[in-house]
């Protein structure tokens, strides 16, 4: 497998897309047409990194979906960072269905990524984190983000 792969499944005009690997200056989205989609669901869990050229190509590619309803799910932190930093990375009519939030335990130094799902840990305007997150030894972990920054896309 190369460093980048896209898998598209089409059920009529509903496209489900899985994006895998590194999105950089070598990426070529031209082979993955989004024409005809009325809904576009992108699973981003397996994205390993994205650079500035990759961000540009992503914005252009997602733009070809036109008025399709766009949903991002299982967004890793590197994607959430771009959603917050680069207006247009999530299209204006786009939604985030789920994303990962880093947690950290001071005592053990353990890091974990906890999935926040729309309708459960957050809504369109509020964030309700899980009651308790524990590391593998049972120590309590803390949300390891600057909340005002990380949840910026939710509280717009």
């Amino acid at each position: 497998m190369g460093k980048f792969e896209i898998k598209i499944e089409k059920a009529g005009a509903a496209f489900t897309v899985q994006v895998i690997g590194v999105i950089d200056e070598d990426v070529d989205f031209n082979s993955y047409s989004l024409a005809g989609a009325t809904s576009l669901e992108l699973n981003l869990e397996a994205v390993k990194s994205i650079n500035s050229c990759g961000i540009r190509e992503w914005i252009k590619w997602i733009g070809t979906a036109g008025t399709a309803q766009v949903t991002y799910l299982l967004c890793p932190k590197i994607i959430v960072d771009q959603i917050n930093m680069v207006q247009g990375f999530l299209p204006a009519n786009g939604k985030v269905k789920s994303f990962f939030v880093p947690y950290y335990c001071d005592e053990s130094g353990e890091e974990k990524n906890i999935l926040f799902t729309h309708g459960k840990e957050y809504t369109d305007s509020t964030v309700t984190p899980p009651a308790a997150v524990k590391d593998d030894s049972g120590n309590e972990m803390e949300m390891d983000v600057v909340e005002a920054k990380y949840f910026k896309f939710i509280k717009k």
Partner: protein, 277 residues
Amino acid sequence: MKILSQGSELLKGIPKEILDLAPTTPLIDIKDISTAKSPATSIFVASELEPLQIVEHILDQSISSVLQMNKKYFLEDLKMLARLKQDSEGYFKNYAGHLFPDTAEKIILEFGHANEKEQLRAKILEFAQKTKSQSVVESTQAIFEELYMNAILDAPKEALKRNQKMNHYDQGVKATFCLVRSDLQLAISCSDPYGSLDCQKFLKRLREIYQKGAGQVINLKKEGGAGIGCSLMWENSASIILGVIPNKKTVVTCVIPLGLSNRQRAEVKKSLHLVEL
């Protein structure tokens, strides 16, 4: 370094042996910037500046160094800057190794072709993984991506535009990554043999991004870079050092503080330094 700000809380208690590392370099509280006699060669110290304010200070007042106080790292940062100011040429020879000579580990990787990228990535990530912090690994990767593209794609194009007569990568010259790691920081430098970095242009671009937002200023044309890499590098590090010998060499270094959680690292105040020979 010579402390020129009297009564500054920020500059209290700096050990003499650190000041003596660069005995003629003025060290000034940014509140006293209007009284600085040689702003271009001074180190200005601040504590509450946002990135946009730092860029504006450097552009508007022709200063070359803004160091922000982060308690745990301040003395190490001062030592680093003293080495940079006292022996700038050393920075262009030994990159991050010059800034942080007392480090646990160092790697040097030369490259000159686009097909070396994945090998480079693997070695750099292996180095970063020794910090045992996934967020540090991600930041290192993000910085690597932008430095790599600048060295292998943007710098040669700029040199061509300037009709620079020199050897290019396809004639055997190399760019270099240098990474160093101690308990306190991981620094990643990239050196290219073109010297086409325009610091003013870089800073003006940064200013635009912080004023309007990356999404508003991103270059969506196919030609050239996207123009937001500078902010991606700085967002993933605490300090950036931009060094250039025009038409000869560019060395850019990003410093990532260690021993912090992701949230603590995001709250670290940023610094920026220029050196041009």
